[in-house]
Subunit: 222 residues, 2 copies
Amino acid sequence: MRIEVNKNILASNAAAAGKNRERLRRHGVFMVNLMASPGAGKTSAIIKAIERAPELKMAVIEGDIASEIDSLTIEAMGITALQINTGGSCHLTASMITSALNYLDLDVLDLIVIENVGNLVCPAEFDLGETARVMIASIAEGDDKPDKYPLMFRQVDLILLNKMDLLPYCDFDLPRFRQVVTTLNPAAPILELSCKENRGVAGWGEWLTGATASTRAAKAAD
Amino acid sequence: MRIEVNKNILASNAAAAGKNRERLRRHGVFMVNLMASPGAGKTSAIIKAIERAPELKMAVIEGDIASEIDSLTIEAMGITALQINTGGSCHLTASMITSALNYLDLDVLDLIVIENVGNLVCPAEFDLGETARVMIASIAEGDDKPDKYPLMFRQVDLILLNKMDLLPYCDFDLPRFRQVVTTLNPAAPILELSCKENRGVAGWGEWLTGATASTRAAKAAD
C-alpha cells in the first residue's frame, strides 16, 4: 500500500521533471542539482561558482526546510536567488522547480544552480529535471559515506570533495574514498576542493563553464 | 491526498512507538534515539558511551540505508549491535525498532542506543518509542544548522556539539549557535565534545548513567 503511493509520487514527479528538462533544453539553459549533507558546503560552492564563472548569466534556487539565510547570501552577490521552503519535506520535487522556473527569464539565463535540501538520501531519488547532478562530500564527514549512501554517489555526474583544508585534522583515508567512489561510479570525476582556502575552485568553475557551453551549443544545433 | 497518507503513516507509527515505550518502561530499560547529519559522529559518540559507562548493560541498534560498517565496529567492542538496513528509507520507524527489540533480552539490559539514519529532517518526525532523544551537531557543519533544521533542535533532550577540536579551523560562531539553540529549546543542555580528543565525553557518560538510573528507579517504584 505504502509502496504503491510512493510509486505514484515518483511517477508524477518524473513526469514533471521531464517537462522541466524539455523546457530548459528549448532555452539552452544548463541546470545543475547540487546535493550534500547539511553543512558540507553547498552555498560556499555556489559562491565560488559565481566568483569563478562571472561571464555566466546565473540564477540560484535555494531549497531549505526553513530559513532564507542562503538566498540572502547569494542575493548580496547580485545574483537572483529564489528561496523554496519545503516545510517538512526532506527534498525538493520537480513541481517545486516548475514553480520556481516561472519566476525566471529563461531566455537570458545560461545556468541555474539548485541547492537541494541538506540530505544524502531522498534528494537522490527525486529527479528535478536537471541537466546534471553534482554532490559535495566533506572531509569532516569521514571516508565511509559512499558505503552508507551509495545511491547518491552512484548517480551524480561530478563529486566535489570539499574542506580539503581539514584533511590534516581528520582521519580521512583519501585513497580508500577514491577507490570506493570509483567502484560505485567510474564515470564521475572527483574534484578536491577547499572553498575556504580557495583551492581547486578553478576546476569547478571550468566544469560549469564547459557544461553550460555544451548545453548552449546543443540548442544552437537544434 | 498525499497529506492524508502521511497522516496515516505517522498515526500508525505513533501507535507502534507507544507500545515500544510501554514495553521498555515495564523492563526499566532506557532507550535513546541518537540523530545527526551524516558524519557528525554518531558512532564515535556511541563508542565513547561504551567506554565511559562500562557498568551499563548496553545494546545498540544501527540504522543505515546500506552497509553494516557501524555495527561491526560496535560488535568489535563486545557490545550487541543489531543492524537495520532501511533500503531507501531516510529514517527509522517504530515498527523497525519493535522487530529489533524482539532480538534483545530486555530483562538484562539497562540501555539501548539507537543510531538513526544520518539525516536532520525525517528522523525528527518519527517517534520510535525512545525514552529520550539526543542529537549531535558538528562544528564542521557550521553554526547555521539550528536555523535550517529547527524541528530537530527543538525536540531533543540533549545536544552534543561534537568535533570541538576543529573549532580553530572552522568559521563557527559558538555564542551565536548557543543563543539560537537556547531560543529554540531552552530545556536541552548543550555538551561540547571532541570524541577524537576525548574531551567532554565524561559529561556524556554521566548523562547516560543518570538517565538510565532514573528509568530503573521508576520501574522499581511501579
